[in-house]
């Protein structure tokens, strides 16, 4: 536990943006309207894989109301680079090609052309009049198809990075092979008393953010561009648009609107470069909003996977060896989270001998985007299912087996470094003590548990704290607020300066008005941006000490700060303490406005771990499963605003339960997506779920002044395994392929 005693941190004030959100006043991407605005629409490929032979825009351009038509001829091929969060410096070539296809379309929904017109209806009808001649190519829409001998090749120039042998130098759909080994795998399995092995499959799923991608771009006659957009990182949007369009970033300002969910799916650009390029041609601001069908077909999903998992244990439950081979769909371009899966799959357990192989495989499906703990949920589904099966076969309590093998400080992570202070053991012990673990089950019910791990990023952030003359303050950062981070930042300023949290106004500034910030992702904002906020508030505090020294006519070294006021230190002439409000009132006469600032670029926050307990009830006549009780327990380091931390845990559990039970991209054999709507893509709604109970465990992260770890991604890692293990408990059948939808469960139960 963190030793420090807090006053504001850990309280639960009403969030500053709450009323606007619940009353509908908050402005999201599609709410932005500017004078003279026209509307953009995108023509998308009907084919999963085809060569673009020709694009004839004559008929579209002739329509009344059409102001601009955009094709590949309007956007040069780019080889520019941009910093993209945890992925580091990445090439923009594929992102640009994904925004508007150049030579081939690589999935159904791939953008081919765009139109701007005086109404959305005209834009859509004009897009339909664009004549595209396709040379349809055989498609590789699944992992099996993409990996088969003589598979259709998506990118002729693609070669495998990190391949095992040098005898396969021809074109391939395997973009990367990652390998990690430790110990002697053969000897390890030789020492095992029990070995469990199986193959697990998870489908491609979407993040399911409620707000679709939406933006407005205005390209001025002077070359100055303003983009309003719903994004997880407006600096990324600025730099990506500059690179894709060949513009000077200095001439682009990006304003982040309120954001209705991202989960990793909004750290890339889709519409923004098109809207800016259309505006350049039309000389009018252009608004673009994806339909839900476009969101499903052309943005976001995370990888479907096939994972072979094998783990060996001694009779007493000690894990001695593990091996896995993992295949992750990247969608149309390289960049699946195979690396995340590889690093996470054995991160919870001390296993002396292991072998991990992971493959990044391109397929004719949408380019995948990050999705909460990218790569980890599918990996944990496989690992936790096998660990559960080992416990069953050994007759051991599944939590006891996990505790016996749990990593702790000083253990070496499978990806190399040694763990610092981590809370997995505390989390498992908390789960064992929780009433849920001992509660009786009803008929046709089963209980499952699973562990989860995620890294939690650091990266670059900036913050400004502005003191007002009346003793109130503003805190400004460059990170779009997705999970309540503005309220958390106000709490941090309140903690440092003693200003009531409702007298602190937190906001997210545009790219002209605050220092650079990496994306809101990697569970990093409360940790890294929070660190910048704390330092900026401390900068204000130190400036106020100087102002007090000026007023008292003493040296700065003789002025301290206690309980929100400047005090004379021992040895200095006695003075009545000056409150922050008194010092704020005298700002003009003591040197002018007080503005604190800080920038940071810390390392990763230190990992977070969670355990979930799931009770599932199965209707064996229909195959329908229902979660009847669910408890999420997580090491959060230090909860700044506990309600929002609990919300992250509940949201992650809900998304994970949906992934486990119902969600999947359903494709026809020709590579066309069959369920691109919320009607047919079944996400859980409130009535599908019980209240998600949460337990916050606080093992302080030594890298942060309050002990904060990231909390946003860990919660989605355990649910897939917890739900599947509960179904195994309820039915006696081990399911290895998600989703555990009624038809799949019924078919298997009928068969067995």
């Amino acid at each position: 536990m963190s030793a420090r005693t807090f006053t504001a941190i850990g309280t639960r004030p009403v969030r500053h943006d709450g009323l606007d959100k619940v009353t509908g006043r908050a402005n999201f991407g599609a709410d932005i309207t500017v004078p003279g605005m026209i509307f953009g629409a995108v023509l998308r490929s009907p084919h999963a894989h085809a060569r673009l032979v020709s694009i004839d825009t004559t008929a579209a351009e002739a329509m009344a109301g059409v102001k601009a038509v955009l094709t590949r001829d309007d956007i040069p091929e780019t080889f520019a680079k941009v910093v993209m969060g945890e992925a580091g410096t990445i090439g923009l070539h594929d992102m640009g090609d994904n925004a508007l296809a150049r030579t081939k379309v690589l999935y159904q929904g791939h953008a081919v052309a765009a139109v701007a017109a005086t109404s959305l209806d005209i834009a859509q009808r004009a897009a339909d009049r664009i004549k595209v001649v396709y040379e349809v190519l055989p498609a590789a829409c699944t992992l099996d198809q993409a990996l088969a001998p003589n598979a259709p090749i998506l990118h002729e120039g693609l070669r495998t990075k990190g391949k095992a042998t040098s005898d396969a130098d021809g074109p391939t759909n395997v973009a990367m092979r990652i390998e990690m080994r430790r110990g002697d795998i053969d000897q390890g399995f030789g020492e095992a008393d029990i070995i469990v092995e199986d193959e697990f499959r998870t489908p491609m799923v979407h993040q399911g953010y409620i707000e679709p991608h939406a933006c407005v771009a205005r390209y001025g006659e002077d070359g100055q561009v303003v983009i309003w957009t719903s994004t997880q990182g407006h600096f990324m949007v600025r730099d990506s648009c500059a690179g894709i369009l060949g513009l000077d970033p200095a001439k682009i300002k990006v304003v982040a609107t309120e954001i209705g969910g991202g989960f990793g799916g909004k750290i890339s650009v889709y519409l923004e470069p098109l809207a800016a390029a259309l505006s350049r041609k039309a000389h009018r601001p252009v608004k673009m909003v994806m339909t839900r069908g476009e969101v499903f077909r052309a943005s976001g999903p995370t990888s479907g996977t096939t994972i072979r998992m094998k783990i060996g244990a001694k009779r007493d439950g000690t894990l001695v060896a593990a091996s896995t081979t993992m295949y992750y769909e990247a969608g149309a371009y390289p960049g699946s989270p195979a690396g995340g899966g590889a690093m996470c799959c054995f991160a919870s357990y001390r296993i002396p001998n292991f072998s991990i192989e992971a493959y990044d495989v391109v397929v004719n499906r949408p380019r995948v985007a990050a999705y909460r703990a990218p790569g980890a949920p599918a990996a944990a589904f496989a690992t936790e299912s096998v660990v559960d099966e080992i416990a069953r076969r050994l007759g051991m309590d599944p939590l006891e087996l996990r505790l016996k093998n749990a990593v702790t400080e000083g253990d070496r992570a499978p990806y190399g470094p040694t763990y610092g202070p981590i809370g997995l053991r505390e989390v498992i012990e908390t789960a064992r003590r929780h009433p849920h673990w001992q509660a009786p089950l009803g008929p046709n019910q089963g209980r499952g548990v699973a562990c989860g791990f995620w890294f939690n990023a650091g990266m670059a952030s900036s913050a400004i704290v502005i003191l007002h003359g009346d003793g109130s303050a503003a805190v400004v950062t460059g990170n779009p607020d997705i999970g309540g981070t503005r309220a958390a930042q106000a709490l941090m300023v309140s903690e440092e300066l003693g200003i009531p949290v409702d007298r602190i106004r937190p906001s997210v500034a545009d790219t002209d008005s605050i220092g650079y910030a990496d994306v809101t992702g990697g569970s990093r904002v409360c940790y890294a941006t929070g660190m910048a906020v704390i330092q900026a508030a401390q900068d204000v505090r130190d400036q106020l000490r100087q102002r007090a020294a000026t007023i008292w006519g003493v040296d700065l070294s003789q002025v301290g700060w206690e309980n929100g006021q400047a005090v004379a230190l021992d040895g200095a002439p006695a003075q009545t303490p000056l409150t922050l409000a008194e010092l704020a009132d005298k700002m003009a006469s003591t040197g002018g406005p007080v503005v604190g600032r800080a920038t940071v670029s810390p390392p990763m926050a230190g990992p977070g771990f969670a355990v979930n307990i799931c009770d599932l009830e199965v209707d064996k006549e229909t195959g329908c499963s229902r979660v009847v009780r669910y408890t999420a327990i997580q090491d959060v380091g230090k909860a700044i605003h506990p309600s929002f931390v609990e919300g992250q845990m509940q949201g992650g559990a809900a998304q994970g339960i949906g992934w486990a039970l119902n969600e999947e991209y359903v494709y026809a054999s020709d590579g066309t997506l069959q369920n691109a709507s919320f009607l047919d893509y079944r996400m859980p709604v409130a009535s599908d779920l019980p209240p998600i109970e949460t337990v916050l465990v606080e093992v302080a992260n030594p890298l942060h002044p309050y002990g904060v770890r990231g909390v946003g991604e860990v919660p989605i890692v355990p649910p897939l395994g917890a739900v599947a293990n509960a179904l195994r408990d309820a039915t006696g059948v081990r399911f290895t392929e998600l989703p555990l939808s009624p038809p799949r469960v019924l078919a298997r139960l009928s068969k067995d």
Partner: protein, 86 residues
């Protein structure tokens, strides 16, 4: 001298060597020396970041090293971002 560990998937580029002791003041110089010895590693390094003594850095170039530093090469979290092509 700091010791840098290569994940097993990278040892095909290092003639099978899985760890190397290098005298270097910072990560930048250490990686320069690694690449001087194994230039084929460049294609893999662009997809990796670096952990020094347990801390994973996103921008590791100027992280100082000591004589006992342990350096691990760690895959970056892609999550859908397009890796740089060589």
């Amino acid at each position: 001298m700091a010791v840098v560990y290569f994940p097993s998937g990278m040892t095909r580029y290092t003639d099978g060597v899985d760890q190397l002791h290098i005298e270097a003041p910072r990560v930048r110089e250490l990686l320069q020396e690694v690449l001087a010895r194994y230039p084929d590693l460049a294609v893999m390094l662009e997809s990796m970041t670096v952990a020094v003594d347990g801390q994973v850095y996103h921008h590791p170039d100027y992280v100082p090293l000591t004589s006992t530093s342990e350096v691990h090469l760690v895959p970056r979290i892609a999550g859908g971002s397009t890796a740089l092509r060589s």
